[in-house]
Each structure stands twice: as C-alpha cells, then as structure tokens.
Amino acid sequence: MTGLRAPRAPGRGAPAAGDGGAGPDAALPQPRGQSARLRLAGWLRRGWRQLTSMRTALILLFLLAVASVPGSVLPQEGIDPAAVAQYYAAHPALAPVLARFSLFNVFAAPWFAATYLLLFVSLAGCVLPRTFRLAGSARQQPPQAPRNLSRLPLAASYTTALEPAAAAAAAGQLLSGRRFRLRTGAGWVAAEKGYLREVGNLLFHIALLALLASVGLGAIFGYKANRLLVTGDSFANTPTALDVFRPGRLVTPSDLAPFSVTLDRFTASYVTSGAETGQPLQFNAALRYSASPGGPVRSYDLRVNHPLVVDGVSVYIIGHGYAPEFRVTDGAGQVVFDDAVPFIPVNQNGLTSEGVIKVPDASPDQLGFAGVFLPTAVDSGGRLESVFPAPLDPRVSLVAYAGSLGMNAGQPQSVYQLDTGHMRQLPISPRPLSPGESMKLPDHAGTLTFTGYKPWVSLAITYDPGQLPALLSGIVALAGLILSFMVRRRRVFARASAGPDGTTIVDLGGLARSDAAGGFDEEFAELAQEIMVAQDGRCLTATWHGTGPPADAPGADETIGTAPGSTDPVTGTSESAVSSTDDESLGHPEGE
C-alpha cells in the first residue's frame, strides 16, 4: 500500500500522527526526581480538591451529626459525672471499652475535634475562592445581547417608528428605571437583575465559616467549671476554689473574671399532692455577689434557667442537696470537727443522700463515718426511707470507723468516698439521729453530734465568648439562604434594527437563570408591554415558554403590518425552549 504520510507540521520535531492521544510530556523523558515531585504535587492537589469538594463537606457534616449521637445517649463526664459512675457500675465490662473511645466525653474527644476541624478546613478551602468569584460575579456586567433573540424561552418583537438607537435607548431607560443593571451597545441593550442572589449565597457561606470560627473561639478562650456551695459559704472565681475546672487551651488564671459569690439562702418548692408529689417546682438561691474584690455587693435571685451573668460569665444552678452539720469530739475531749458535710442525692424522689465524714485529726485514731441523710424519714417495713424531698423530718444514719484514713500518705482522695481498707468498723447499733442528737462511740473514741443541716447548691460556671457571634452568624446564614432562594437572576435583552418601510423592529428576549418559583413570565410580559408602550410600538410576535401567553400579555399579531388597534386573537407559538443553560451563547459560563 502506498503510504501517504500526514505532512509534518512545520517546526514540530515530534511525530504527530502515530502517537494517537499521547500527551506532550510523554515525548521527552524526564529525570526521576522531577517526576516524583510532580506526582507528589499532583497527589496534594488532588487531595486538596477532594477535601474542599462539596461531597466531602456533606459527608463530614453528616459524620458530625452522627458523632453527636453518643453524646446525647450516653452520660457525659462534663455534665453528670455521677451518672457516668453509675454507668460504670451497671455495665462493668462495656464501660471501659466505651471510655477508650472517649464516648463519655464526646465533645472533647480527638475524633470529634478532627471531624470538626476537617469540616472547617474543607469549608474554608471551598468558600474562600468562591467568595472572590462570587464577589466578582456580583459586579459583573450583563453579557452581550445575542443576535437571535427569538430563540430565547421568552421573546417578543414589535415595530416602532423611532430610530433604532432611540428605540434601544428608550428600552434601556425603562429597564434601568426598574433597577436592572444595563449594558448597551450599538442598537442593543442587555439588562440583568437579581445580583442579590449572589450576595445571599456569599452571606450564607461566610456566615457558616463565621459560625464555625465562633464555636472554635468559645472552645479556645472559654471555660467551664463547677462548684458546690453550702448555704452561708462564699467562693471566688479562682482555680483553687472550683471543684471541677475545664479551661480552654489559651485560658490563664488572670482571664477568670474575679467575682465572688455568697449563698445566703436556698429555697425549693415541690408539688405536694397528686401523682407528681415530690417533683420540684422552683429553686431559688438568694445570692450576694461582687464583680471584683472590694467592689459593690449586689443581690441576685438565682433560679433554674435564670443564670447570674457577671462580666460575661454565666453562673447556673444545676442541682441542690443537703449538707448535715456534725460536731465530732475525739477521745481526748477536743472538738476536732465542726462543719457541714455535703451529702450527694442518690434518689430524686425523696432526695435520699449519701455522704462521708472524715476526721483525720482525731486522736488516738482517725475517725471516719459513712451514711445516709433522709429529709423526710418514714419507716416502711422496718427500713427508713425518705418520701419527700423537703426536710420535714430529717434523720441521719451513720456507720462509724476508726483507724487510718490513708490521707497522711499524700494520695489524693475524693471527699465523697471513704477508704475503709485500714479501718475497723466500730460496734455501735445503728440508730438514726434527729437534729441535736448524739452518737457516743465505744472505747472512748469520741462523740458525734448531728447539730443541724443546711442546703447546698451546685453551680455551673461557664464562659463562652463565642456564643453571641455564633448566634449572629446563624441568623445571617439563614438570611443569606432565604435571600439566595427567593431572588432570581433574570436577564432582558432588546435589539433594535431597521425594518422594512423605514420602521424599526425591536426584538425583546428574556431569560431567567434560576426560576424555580416561576413568576418571570408575568414579569417579562409586563416589561414587554411597558417598553412597547414607551416606544409607541405595535406588537409583532410574542413567544412564551411552554404554554400560551398569559392573559395580560400584549396581543400578538401574526404578521407585520396589521393595523394598530386590531384585535386578532393571540396565537402564541409555544416555542420549544432553547435550553436556558445555553450559556455559551450568552457569554457567561456558570460558575457552579
């Protein structure tokens, strides 16, 4: 066969025909290091594109929602450590496994933070370039008017006696009076409206970023703390005074607002009859506080969901209980303990509370007591139990121990737990004590007197600087979203060209880029009629997308030259729509 070679393109050394689809870089062999670097760069670029794609962001958002589920289902350490301890007791084999995955502290878990951070990075990497593009497109001029306006889904044309330039100018004037953005040319006018949609889109994305940043801000500069306060006591917002203190990463002690709080009185009201007897109605803690040492002292009634706010720090009341007061005299006759001991409720119905008294400075032996406090003690079948949470008939029942508490060795202990490993139980017949009664310990070990009781409140102190910014960001995001849904981008074009008999034929075209809600047909009809009237023209044709023209459309005549004022019925040609995404011809590719 006679081979007819394709002529070599001048100036190109590489063979063109035989290679098929090989790219230019296959022709030159490259050094290995360079290709490895290119591969790495390619991987990084691909990875970044994957990370900032919307699909990844949606997956991460879904993961974040799923990850929050254990935080709602399982008891969380930061909120209710007692419930966590109960879970451990109830599920001894499962609980350590769950703890290993930080399921009792979900919102501080590393994997939760990783999901959150990745989402943030993905969103930022997607939104920031889009922001610049959207800002640019919001300032963009409308595209040129296409040559053949009758191909648009909405089109009308009519004749007018004005000059083409004057006709186009009149159309432009009317459109700009309707707040369209104009672009004019020789005998044509392009108008676009609805840039607020891009602004709404922009606002939504930026607000979403700001929302994430606010939550992060709160986590880094904020802190949460707990403090149990007995009536009559006071405390200041300093690390030594807080029972639990969880600071953000950049919190220093001087950042803690230096307020002091004193609990003067605590009252609780309960339901006294019916099926819900014993349910709390209201808690009221009468506080006195000062915002700084030496500052003016103010009063505040702290109630549930009515926190005390001092210097941006919120103090909530999250629980209450009773602290029975004891006076312990040791074997040597000295008073070695005289204080209120907070007992922790184990039962919400009657507020039966358990507690521990440690007397490490009793001699000759250290003393320890463990027992229950019953606000309204009632004998039921030989056992005492509390049937109502108010202290109507308080009793305390204790078991006494003597020996070594283990405190002098320095090993930290919970003040609510007694380690009786090195103690012996004292042989006393257990007898519930009423306020004022005493318990004499055998072998001259001492005496314990139940002197009274005081209520205590549990306060949660939180500081979250990102709360207000997060709220504002959420509102702005919603507003931007609504704006981007409700505002439509729409374009109207007008071309005026000289027609037969010295008249000017004006073509109008309309295009709505995202008209899910509809309504542009009517708007276009209105505009067309107004422009026609303004130019004193007569309608030639009108085409409407899909169905026939709306009832208030200008009457469409079939042929040019029909006498003005004749009322031929409208025969709107239902034009098969030129695809409204035929954007190449309109000069502006979609950015999506």
Binding site: A114, T240, P253, T262, V336, M407
Partner: protein
C-alpha cells in the same frame, strides 16, 4: 495508508478511585486528630490540677522560679489568723515570707505538713516567716490539724478565697497545696504547686534569704 491524527482526548475520570478517596479522607482525619489531642486545656491545664477533676495534687507538680530582676510583685496579704488575731505580710517587709496554701481535708497537704513545720522551726531565727492560708476549712478541723502536725506558724483563714484572688494577676496558687516564696522586697521568687520536699524548699529558702534586698 493515511491515518488521521487522533485528537488528544481528555477522558473524564474521577480524580481518585473510590478506595483511594476514602483512604485519603481517613488519613487526613488521622492527622487532624493527632494534632488536636489535648486540645482542651493546654498550658493552663498542665499547671491547674483542678482541671482533672481534683482540687489537689500529689507530689511536686510544678516548680516555677524567677530570677532576681524579673520577679512579679506579690500583693500584701492580710486577714484573721486561726487564733483570732489580725495579721498582715506588710509587717514582714524586709524578710523572706513562705506562703503555704493548705486545707486539713487535702491529703498532699497533710503529707507535706511535717516538712513545713520542721522548716519553720529551722528558720525561726533567720528573718524567714512562714504563713499558712487555710482554704475551705472549718475552725475546729484547722486547729486540730495544727495540733496534729505541730505547726508553729500562724495561718490565715480564707473561706471566701479572697487571698487566692489577690494573686490572680501575678502567680496564683493553681491548686492545693501551693507554696509561694517571697523575697525581701515582696516579690515572688518561686512557686511550688504540689507537696514540697524538705530539702528542696530548704535550698530555695536559703538561696532567697541569702540575697540582698
């Protein structure tokens, strides 16, 4: 035979195959997770034992020392002692002051108490004053504590945390026990969070006492 040059076609291919995509996301998640472990807390948590759910520490948790030129000024501390007298560190001006925050309920405070009592006796005649600050304690327990350990120096009672609050902008006690050593001019020369050891605190006090004001 004439072969038309085939135009270079760009085949639309996903940037990464599905398993590769998943692996990449997992890898990124791992890296992000590794970088944020310990996100909560940071520097302040390391020196604030309360953040771990305890209000006290065991062992010498951290020691911070300041060179003579760069010591923060300590506020004057005053209050009522356990024996009911008024006392202020202003009267100790010109001497070294060892300020110890403690509570009778705090196990590490009990462990370091013998060392502190012995050091107070050792430095009694050397222009070194020991002063305790009793946190969240009742009168009877605090007095019993001083009896048990033979504490010879006075302690101020601080039920409302006012004294601790005064130190918040300089070098606050981050937990109990905390010991501050103030030099002769009233500046903080060192802070020990956690129980002190006899030899360690003795060396520090001797060094500060040997300085000229």
């Amino acid at each position: 035979m004439y072969r038309m040059p085939r135009p270079a076609r760009r085949v639309a291919r996903p940037a990464l195959a599905a398993p590769g995509r998943t692996a990449l996301i997992a890898l990124l998640a791992l890296c992000a997770g590794a970088s944020v472990t310990g996100c909560e807390g940071g520097a302040i948590a390391a020196s604030t034992p309360a953040s771990g759910g305890q209000s006290f520490v065991s062992g010498s948790y951290s020691t911070t020392l300041f060179r003579p030129g760069s010591r923060p000024a300590a506020p004057a501390v005053s209050g009522i002692t356990l024996t009911g007298q008024r006392l202020s560190t202003r009267s100790y001006r010109g001497d070294v002051v060892v300020l110890n925050f403690w509570g009778s309920w705090c196990a590490p405070c009990r462990q370091e108490a013998p060392a502190l009592a012995a050091l107070a006796r050792h430095f009694r005649s050397g222009h070194v004053h020991f002063l305790g600050v009793d946190i969240r304690d009742d009168q009877a327990s605090a007095e019993a504590f001083t009896r048990t350990f033979g504490v010879g120096y006075p302690s101020l009672s601080d039920p409302g945390d006012e004294i601790a609050l005064q130190f918040r902008s300089t070098l606050p006690p981050a937990g109990i026990p905390s010991t501050l050593v103030l030099d002769r001019s009233g500046h903080v020369a060192g802070r020990i969070v956690g129980g002190v050891s006899y030899s360690g605190l003795k060396a520090l006090i001797s060094e500060v006492a040997a300085e000229n004001s």
